[in-house]
Symmetry: C2
Subunit: 204 residues, 2 copies
């Protein structure tokens, strides 16, 4: 019997979106639970390590979005052929994690003026710094981010991109032809397209 | 011929220490390059993504400490037997990464009074929160952090612990018998012991 999946997060794409993309790519049904912020203090102590996203697999709850994405990516046949190829994939995914960390200051900022400044800095400095390098990597890898072939790093990137664009408040990929093409490739996958079309509309 | 390793970081244990532990466990020689902070602005633009640690393998430079630790851990035969076991290992390692992130505010704090407060909070709140849960996991897993057997997550933990203790400014593990025993097991490995004895003395 196919495993039963239930994903717990807030009402946003955030760090849950790569898991949603990968479950969709796999063709797996999943229940997409979205907590209200006001309920979080009550829910937090019931989670494995006080954080979401959490993926429930056959009734048991597992935290850590990157670990879960790697697991689902391998299940989808999108891992490397050996641990050397996996290293190249993991380097990309953890680098996307560094971008995410630079972004997190925007989301929690309450002062609208400071928030706008942080958005500008994120789009003009952080994204430029990383995307120039990722663009060069994609160019050297047949348009993919590792090992010259599709991997779960590419799906992870496309999902994260939908969050980064939201946080930056504008398109951030069109200046990078290989990254823009990669985004298009991933988002055109019929199952991922279906997910994007049906997902709740949120800012990021 | 065995690969030639060169590790680049600052003069500290930090996020490079798990790589040093794993290379030592593997019995691999490595050149341990320690940058001076004042040289970093010049060096940073020459790195793959503006960050250290970087491991040079046969003349090519690779970033991302967790990705590199996973690669070396698997090389040492300390990965899971399948991707399900790898998921359990990766959950632990990324959770240790969350602790590291909570710690990072201490290291950059310039105000000595605020730094002391942050140290207290880290030791009394962050460490207690996570170590209680990790202690229960170790208790349920024959003293290890995943899959009831030694994995690279255990070595990663012992290396990170040497950093967390330094940042907290005190012993943080003695109240957790399974974690304390695990630390002892890892640090008693003869090759890791040799590394600990010869490494430069730094605060964290």
């Amino acid at each position: 019997m196919a495993p039963k999946y239930k994903l717990y997060y807030f009402n946003g794409r955030g760090s849950a979106e790569p898991i949603r993309y990968l479950l969709s790519y796999l063709g797996e049904e999943f229940e997409d639970v979205r907590y209200k912020f006001e309920d979080w203090p009550t829910i937090k102590p019931t989670t494995p390590f006080g954080k979401v996203p959490i993926l429930e697999i056959d009734g048991k709850k597992y935290p850590q979005s990157v670990a879960l994405s790697r697991y689902l990516g391998k299940k989808a046949g999108l891992g490397g052929k050996d641990s050397w190829e996996d290293l190249q994939i993991d380097i990309i995914v953890d680098t996307i994690g560094d971008i995410r960390q630079d972004m997190s200051g925007i989301l929690v900022e309450k002062d609208e003026k400071v928030k706008a400044q942080k958005k500008e800095k994120f789009a003009n400095e952080t994204i430029s710094f990383y995307f120039e390098k990722l663009e060069a990597i994609a160019k050297a890898n047949n348009g993919y981010l590792a090992n010259k072939k599709l991997s779960w790093a590419d799906i992870y990137f496309a999902a994260a991109l939908s969050v980064f664009s939201g946080a930056a408040g504008k398109d951030i990929v069109s200046h990078y032809p290989n990254l823009a093409a990669l985004q298009k490739t991933i988002n055109s996958n019929p199952r991922i397209r279906t997910w994007i079309d049906k997902r709740p509309k949120t800012d990021f």
